[in-house]
């Protein structure tokens, strides 16, 4: 048999691969049972909602309502601004905490201790109600105004969320900076690079690989946490949908609508996070993982190749 096959093939071609094993696979009856039970529970849940007195039509009607869209815009806006404030201040705090200066190090420690140790909801309320203790804001040469005009809902939301976030970002950045091998800064310094340049060109880019994934989580968390700014009367997504719900009588439906919008926004952020992590992974593994798009394209390509092969 084998000699025959070898003769059939051109000289020099390797012998054909041995036949694949054909065996009866193990039957996983437990998996079938589990699948049936979970589908049944899901069906119960869906039927309960179907029988409930939900005016489903109200959701598409108000999905792109002007007030709701304004809420969406504000939610996205306050999320981005709070994160920018949080990341910028967080990096500063992390560097302060790691510095050799005992004063800056302890001040950073104290900041993190305070802002991580109190609930963000309380912090928001405090910012909003500072008007009860201050009548005026007076930054001597630059700015002077009545406190109530100065501390708008927007500013209270931004300070409450951003300053709280900075405490968490500081710890994330510190962990990232400390994760970089000491040999890296030694090599940079041996080349004559200054401390600042070593941090910026060598340490931070490598720390990013550790910093980015939790920061992405923080971003998604922040998007959801912004729903608390209802406490300072900022017109965010939740505030908008609640208002619309009260006026239209579809309170529960509008909450579903808000949930749908939050889901859409967090999904978009997850995709962004994936690509960002991929970018900072360069050099850390031999080849970058394919993006979903590349994977689809590769699959299509191999598919067309296969069909071409069959045709030939």
């Amino acid at each position: 048999m084998t000699t025959k096959i070898e003769k059939a093939g051109p000289v020099g071609t390797p012998p054909p691969a041995p036949e694949n094993i054909k065996a009866i696979p193990v039957r996983h009856y437990g998996r079938w049972v589990a699948a049936v039970i979970t589908i049944a529970l899901l069906a119960l849940l869906i039927s309960a909602f179907a029988r409930g007195d939900v005016n489903w039509g109200a959701i598409p009607d108000y999905f792109f309502d002007g007030e709701v869209l304004k809420g969406v815009r504000n939610t996205v806006w306050i999320t981005i601004l709070s994160m920018v404030l949080g990341v910028a201040l967080g990096i500063v705090l992390a560097v302060m905490r790691l510095s050799k200066n005992p004063v800056t190090a302890s001040i950073a420690w104290g900041y993190i201790w305070f802002f991580r140790g109190t609930p963000v909801y309380v912090q928001l309320l405090v910012w909003f109600n500072l008007g009860l203790v201050f009548d005026y804001i007076n930054i001597m040469p630059i700015y002077k105004d009545e406190w109530s005009d100065f501390m708008t809902p927007f500013l209270a939301a931004l300070l409450g969320l951003g300053l709280n976030e900075a405490a968490y970002m500081a710890e994330i950045c510190r962990a990232g900076i400390q994760s970089v091998d000491e040999g890296q800064s030694e090599a940079a310094q041996a080349l004559g690079m200054s401390h600042a340049k070593t941090l910026r060109r060598v340490v931070l880019p490598q720390a990013m690989r550790v910093i980015v994934p939790p920061t992405g989580n923080e971003f998604i968390n922040m998007l959801k946490t912004t729903s608390l700014v209802i406490a300072v009367q900022y017109w965010d997504l939740l505030q908008a949908t609640s208002e619309v719900g009260q006026n239209s009588g579809a309170t529960a439906e509008m909450l579903f609508l808000a949930a749908a919008w939050y889901l859409i926004l967090t999904s978009v952020l997850s995709v962004g996070q994936y690509y960002l992590e991929r970018y900072y992974a360069r050099g850390s593994s031999r080849s970058l993982p394919a993006t979903p798009l590349q994977r689809v394209r590769a699959n299509l390509l191999s598919f067309s190749n296969r069909s071409g092969g069959v045709g030939a």
């Binding site: 040999g183 890296q184 080349l191 490598q206 050099g283």
Partner: protein, 253 residues
Amino acid sequence: MTAMVKAEGVHKSFGPVQVLKGIDLEVAPREVFCLIGPSGSGKSTFLRCINHLEKINSGRLYVDGDLVGYRQKGDKLYELKDREVAEKRRDIGMVFQRFNLFPHMTALENVIEAPVQVKRETKAVARERALRLLDRVGLGDKAGNYPSQLSGGQQQRVAIARALAMEPKLMLFDEPTSALDPELVGEVLDVMRGLAEEGMTMIVVTHEMGFAREVGDSVVFMDDGVVVESGQPREVLTNPRHERTKSFLSKVL
């Protein structure tokens, strides 16, 4: 002629542990100076003192006639600012046991980083020299590879090219082949041999006795923070006078 490196009674301790207990030695320009000795004898620490990665506790250390890390005015010593220390380090290349290439940069980017960032050279100038240096260490075709895509021997050769890109007058090698698979040691030693032939002043901490014998101009045997024996490689390696040198060599040869 001033010595390239001169040490006078150099002491260094980490907390209560005394690592260097009075090192006196002199390295002439264009000399290949090999430091051998058991681990923990202080050879690597001494090497790191030369470019001020470690601060010495007492004694004096000079590179090319200048005090390392300090400025002397009258009989007072002033610590150099970070910026001044960095400036001095530009002229001293260092190659590490664990390569310490920047993993987020390609081989080429590793080599041009310091000339562009520290010496403010244009990218084009730095790039041209970098490609020439990579060619010289036999890696002209690997310029676009990240360190993780290179073997240990290739990484160490890139690290040598990176140090040479600053056109140093002195090169420090800290056990450059100790982290390599045995069959990769040769390619790194070949590059170092070529460098020695061109007249680079080199201080090499090594366990490669063959290299020390063939390439070295002088060999110093250190043990327990002191220089036990020094001289020409032939004498020290084949005809050691001290018991400690003899017993060390009998173990490694």
